[in-house]
Amino acid sequence: MISVIQKKNRKFKEINYYQNHDVSNYFLLPFRFQKINSKTEILVNEVGDFLLVPVGTAEQIILKKLDKIKDEDLYLDLISNFFISEEVIPPLLNILEARYRTKKSFLDHFTALHIFVISLRCEHTCHYCQVSRVTENKDEFDMSLYHIDEGIKIMMHSPNPHITMEFQGGEALLAFNNIKYAVLKAKEEALLYEKHMTFVICTNLAPLTDDMLPFIKEHNIMISSSLDGPAFIHNQNRHRPQRNSYEVTIEGLNKCRAILGEDNISALLTTTNLSLDYPTEIVEEYVKQGFSNIFLRPISPYGFATYNEKKNKYQTEKFLTFYKSAFEKIIDYNKKGYYIREDYATVILKKILTSFPVGYVDLQSPAGMINNVIVFNYDGKIYASDEARMLAEMNDFTFQLGILGQSTYNEIFYGKKAMEIAENWTNESLAGCSECAFQSYCGADPVLNHATQGNMYGYRPTNVFCQKNMEIIRYLFDLMEDKSIEKIFRSWITGHSE
């Protein structure tokens, strides 16, 4: 394969000599394609590299009508990007293999995120929340120390050397003593099992008191809070008797920033019907509060979850309109020099523009549930994902995997239920997705399929997950035709501008 050291003669040869001439025909490598607007179609190969080409090009390629001389640029682009090959087995096939392995390597270590629903109690009565309870009854609605211990045992069983333990509610801080217990216990066990721990508390910040902060700081616990927009939206979304949720949140945010540091506190947006009318105001609020990121999350369909196709479709359309208006505002800020990125788009853009593995629980294939996340509910029940727990609160226990203290690790992670879900969590093998050009940027969501369409497999033409992702991905490609926006996107990926 490698030529001998001694050169026969060192006379220079022309470029033709180095071209492969016996190709009367080229061979197709696996790729998918799709029209993204009236002029352009996209070709995407097996590792997510794409080419934007005029509509009709895919057909030319597939019918082998491409001419190496006449269509030289395109022909070379296709060779260089692993779309076609001049040999049956491409000479650099093993590079493609390595890249595929890399792309999927987010699976290598198995479950990282372990969510402990430490208490179901809350002092808010948000109307969109189906879950929490306003009550003083700790015995019934806080996770018991026994379940915490059992949860930690399972967590330490994970083959992943990096473990995230996340405390959710209800309002997690209402059970701060149990959090303390859990953190100390987990740290102790982590030493034994050689795990690197990250801790997160999800909280609306209302119950945060000064005496909690030293512990949070000492153990490098990240705070994930909520900010739904300006006061009139936030307070409307988040009912408190005093109608001061916004004020309390902002005060808490600032306190956390001052004491824990900017990087240890983040905020999540919950989109509600009300929010949909105020995309600009919401983005402005995030900028006003000094955030450099915002996560435009879709309305949780578990509230309206019905099998009503029309209603689901309508809701998703409304969300997409909201998403785009907010997104335009975000781009505007970036163009003016204020760095703020949209997190959902950033996940997708990383998949589109880089060759690194991007494991993001809500948008990956195989899906994040079980593979990357597991949920231990306050009552000891184990669910495949946070959404699976929501379903259970509505008395649908399809995604319950076991019970803490009773089920073994194998029963939970490799049991019959897990296997059944696994049949449906890989978009490579779902009808509609299997030939979709966006497959490698997208994911699979058996829980959402089940909740909105009545089965885990789902039916793509009317699927809300598909409707949302297909449009957002298409939209991102559309925007990237503007080179200055593409440059902004790159800065989102690396996390720094210039």
Binding site: M1, I2, S3, V4, I5, Q6, K7, R10, F12, K13, E14, I15, Y17, Y18, Q19, N20, D49, L76, D77, I79, S80, N81, P91, L92, N94, I95, A98, R99, L353, T354, S355, F356, K487, R490, S491, I493, T494, H496
Partner: protein, 377 residues
């Protein structure tokens, strides 16, 4: 810069390697430079170099009647050959030392600055360097390894790298290689086993498609071997730099090459875009290569900012700042070895003279038509 001189050999049967000194007391050095007549101290050295003509028979290897020895400083390492030629291997007061491992090469690049020779010099160079390496000062900051293609030394290449690691653990090693030998996985593996953290393998890549790269390096299958080689090196944890020479053949697909690198080789540590040097083959192939740098700035800007936007470490070498758009200045490095580096008359008027990389001395032959002093005022 003189790296070679000649005199009349006396009693030299085999090449002698050593550090030179003019101080007779400096007996830990091997070779004495004398500008006077014989003295007894000569016997304390392995050999003597002299500008004076010496006739009497002394039992010591001598090269005499050398025209000039001014270029040699205390501690420089030289090799004295049987034919009276004295080559400088290492200059103590330079930051640009390189060890030429062989003049043989399995490629034949259109713009090669050091055209390969086909005679087998590998024994000669191996023996030269295995003796010279222990003599190099331990605080030497950086050494380049060049060729030809250094890996053609085969196992002896590995031995020299290992020796460099042992003798000079703190010295950065920058090895220019076309990477093709590493397409054999076991070769990459063996370099990996040496585990030298300061070794950087600098591999040229000229296109994202095989035939253009193969044409530029004048070797069939070179592209596939080089890519395979880079992958194997990465697999065994080696540090890699990619080098791209800017000329008429590389410019048209430059942005696509940048994308190819980021997509397929994102693990490389550094990417250097390099202006053309007018040495060796370049003049012969100038029609195939020359494009005024001013004409390729759009392509260069696209490639450089693409890689840099994604956080890759990018440099531009051998470029005159007046030919680069201002937003590329920060990537430009003064990279030309001291003795090859020149500036133009125009440069004396230029406010950027201090930051500018200037020109290869050979650039006098052909350079951009747009060299123009830049003024800040």
């Amino acid at each position: 810069m003189i790296l070679k001189t000649k005199g009349s050999p006396y009693d030299i049967n085999t090449p002698i390697i050593g550090r030179v000194t003019r101080i007779p007391e400096n007996i830990e050095y091997e070779i004495f430079i004398s500008e006077t007549i014989f003295s007894k101290t000569w016997y304390k050295f392995k050999a003597v170099l002299s500008t004076v003509k010496i006739i009497s028979s002394l039992e010591i290897p001598i090269i005499h009647s050398i025209e000039k020895l001014d270029h040699l400083d205390e501690g420089d390492i030289v090799i004295i050959n049987t034919d009276g030629i004295i080559n400088t291997i290492y200059r103590k007061n330079s930051d640009h030392n390189f060890l030429l491992f062989t003049e043989r090469c399995n490629s034949n690049c259109l713009m090669c600055s050091q055209p390969p020779k086909d005679r087998d010099d590998t024994d000669y160079f191996f023996s030269q360097y295995s003796q010279a390496i222990p003599l190099i000062p331990k605080d030497c900051p950086e050494i380049g390894i060049t060729g030809g293609e250094p890996t053609l030394l085969g196992n002896r290449f590995l031995k020299l790298i290992k020796q460099l690691k042992e003798e000079l653990p703190e010295t950065e090693l920058h090895c220019l290689t076309n990477g093709r030998s590493f397409a054999w996985e076991n070769v990459a593996q063996k370099v990996g086993e040496i585990d030298h953290k300061r070794l950087m393998l600098a591999v040229p890549l000229y296109a994202d498609v095989y035939h253009i790269h193969d044409y530029i390096v004048q070797a069939k299958d070179a592209f596939n071997q080089t890519i395979q080689g880079i992958y194997n090196l990465a697999k065994y944890g080696q540090r890699i730099e990619i080098r791209i020479v800017l000329h008429k053949q590389t410019i048209p697909r430059l942005a696509k090459l940048a994308k190819f690198i980021y997509k397929n080789l994102p693990f490389v540590e550094h990417i250097a875009f390099m202006g053309l040097e007018h040495e060796g083959y370049t003049s012969f192939n100038i029609d195939k290569l020359w494009i005024d740098p001013v004409e390729y700035q759009q392509e260069l800007t696209e490639a450089v900012s693409y890689l840099s936007d994604f956080g890759m470490n990018v440099s531009i070498y051998n470029a005159q700042l007046c030919t680069l758009p201002e937003n590329l200045w920060k990537y430009s490095r003064k990279s030309i070895s001291d003795w090859k580096n020149i500036y133009f008359d125009e440069c004396n008027k230029c406010d950027l003279l201090d930051q500018c990389g200037g020109m290869f001395a050979s650039g006098i032959k052909k350079h951009s038509d747009f060299i123009k002093a830049i003024y800040f005022s």
